[in-house]
Amino acid sequence: MSMEPILKIENLKTSFMTSNGEVQAVRGVSLAVNKGEILGIVGESGSGKSVTSMSILRLLADTAVIKEGSIEFEGKNLIGVSKKEMRGIRGEKISMIFQDPMSSLNPLIPVGTQVAEMILEHHPERKKEDVKKEVLELFSRVRIPEPEKRYKCFPHEFSGGMRQRVMIAMALANKPELLIADEPTTALDVTIQDQILHQLRELEKEYGTSIIFITHDLGVVAELCDRVIVMYGGLVMEEASIDDIFEKPGHPYTMGLLESIPDIKQDKSVRLMPIPGSPPDMTNPPVGCPFAPRCPYARKICAQELPEFIELGEGHRTRCFLQYPDAPADEHNPFRR
């Protein structure tokens, strides 16, 4: 894996203009996706993880406005490109799969035709027979049994897992540089999730496609990702390699997330440690650290100022005052006891 970024987001701010005021969903997110890596974005609902990814392909609702920032891809700022140019990028260079494969597929068109359309849309010069052959090849790649027979089936004839395979086949049809997967396995059973995760791993190796994998499930992250970004309240709270995030979490929110899931070997008499309270209201986001109201270690300054990033090691950075060199080292500081 080279450390050459193929996508670079700088200070992205995306808001929704609603009748209740401006919902600041993404409030200054910077991140980079390296070539051939799987980057996990973890966060709860409302953390801004999906809006960040939707901003990349500009699949946002009409009420959404990208207020600031740049999204650099192949030397171009995607925020400036025209609608037409964006259509050329979607599905060709960057593709996306969503949580609910049923609502992403057209119920009136056979699945094979839908995948073929994806190729023909971007390569109209190609022969239909060749494209069909390629789709069948793709179907067997993503392990859809009996591709010939399945080609003519409609989405309703498929199970959830099979539909998601069709979506993956469609997303990979044009061998994109980047695949954005937004909770693609959340609606599936664990056995099917396991199959799909293995497949994504294999396809990443085979095609060298970089993947942004958005999820709330830390287990899935551990199985799949190389690096992780933890989001909360529209901001990146921590960024680290997969091992660091689980072994040396550098933010109280990350620690809280890890403590609130039971391990498969967890002692049943030990209580789970939930994070108290609920996520902030993004129409009126907190001035300071968005996690401060729920943070067991919060100090006065946390509610007043937003902490800047601090480097904890190579590729590991966090946004927390307690990690600052001048933070007091006492029993109330989990990082410096």
Binding site: E44, S45, P145, S159, G160, G161, M162, D189, V190, T191, I192, Q193, D194, Q195, L197, H198, H216, D217, L218, G219, V220, V221, A222, E223, I242, D243, F246, G256, L257, L258, S260, I261, P262, D263, I264, K265, Q266, K268, R271, L272, M273, P274, I275, P276, S278, P279
Partner: protein, 319 residues
């Protein structure tokens, strides 16, 4: 009357008509008992019949065959009218806190409704005396009472759903995926709440979920369902430490491990393929189409539940 077992289910079967002469075999011959004050977890993939099982037990659906005994009373064929007084003993918490609360009722009215329906109180003021402490118990406040469900977050709504189920002081609560719609940080809050209530009131839970680590954490016993059959049931640590049925093994092998080092070492042990249709379930052991150890016998004879030692029950021809 106090029975040791709050719930006994014997050979419970639920079939649905599915157009034409087709029949969906949702639940087929499921038997288990739930001891008072304990939690039984039911796990399995979607379509395995765990929710149908729960809904049949609580008599939202009529029973096709078999027997449901609640606290010593056979409720299998009771009329809804006869059943009503018994409903105080069993309540249900639903998966989707967005769909299971009436959008036109205040939280107070939602929680008070069971009290009024069962004639425990007849005035709103009297209901408040019970509703307010309940709200506090589930971590909400008096001030929340006059609000509507849409003003709450998912976790808070689920607390309202729990308050509504618990206000009648039931003895058995059926939790149908109570946390799957919630964020990770909120799930633990709800689980702790359910556990505290059990400790204090000696409640019994039938806990249905697909999150196996959470099920192990809350349950005393765990049953694994596949395509309408119960394939394995035993003490909850035992099923995770020593799974016997190939399906249980595959299911456990599919759980993502929240530990990257262990995850990398993990061998590929998941299950291939999809769950077959419950309209034409495979003959014999229903898992044989996906089972790596299937023998000729498996596609012909349905394996019976047998004790593999120490009360570890499994239905598989390998044992």
């Amino acid at each position: 009357m106090s029975n040791q077992n709050i719930l006994e289910v014997r050979d419970l079967t639920k079939h649905f008509k599915a157009g034409g002469k087709q029949v969906v075999h949702a639940v087929d011959g499921v038997s288990f008992t739930l001891a008072r004050g304990k939690t039984l977890g039911l796990v399995g993939e979607s379509g395995c019949g765990k929710s149908s099982c729960a809904r049949t037990i609580i008599r939202m659906y009529d029973v096709t065959a078999g027997q449901v005994v609640l606290d010593g009373t056979d409720i299998t064929n009771m009329k809804q009218k006869e059943l009503k007084p018994l409903r105080r003993k069993m309540q249900m918490i639903f998966q989707d806190p967005y769909a299971s609360l009436n959008a036109r009722m205040t939280v107070r009215d939602i929680i008070a409704e069971p009290l009024i329906a069962h004639g425990i109180v007849n005035k709103k003021e009297a209901a408040n005396e019970l509703v307010y402490p309940m709200l506090e118990w589930v971590g909400l406040t008096k001030e929340h009472a006059n609000r509507y469900a849409h003003e709450f977050s998912g976790g808070q709504r689920q607390r309202v759903g729990i308050a509504r189920a618990l206000i009648l002081k039931p003895e058995l609560v059926i939790c149908d995926e109570p946390i799957s719609a919630l964020d990770v940080s909120i799930q633990a809050q709800v689980i702790n709440l359910l556990k505290d209530f059990q400790e204090e009131k000696g409640l019994s839970y039938l806990f249905i979920a697909h999150d196996l680590s959470m099920v192990r954490y809350v349950s005393d016993e765990v049953g694994v369902m596949y395509l309408g059959h119960l394939v394995e049931i035993c003490e909850s640590n035992e099923i995770y430490d020593n799974p016997l049925h190939p399906y249980t093994k595959g299911l456990l092998g599919s759980i993502p491990i929240a530990n990257p080092r262990l995850a990398r070492q993990k061998e590929k042990s998941g299950i291939e393929g999809d769950i077959p249709s419950p309209i034409h379930p495979p003959a014999g052991c229903r898992f044989h189409t996906r089972c790596p150890f299937a023998k000729p016998e498996c596609s012909e004879v349905k394996p019976q539940m047998k004790d593999a030692g120490g009360g570890h029950m499994v239905a598989c021809h390998l044992y």
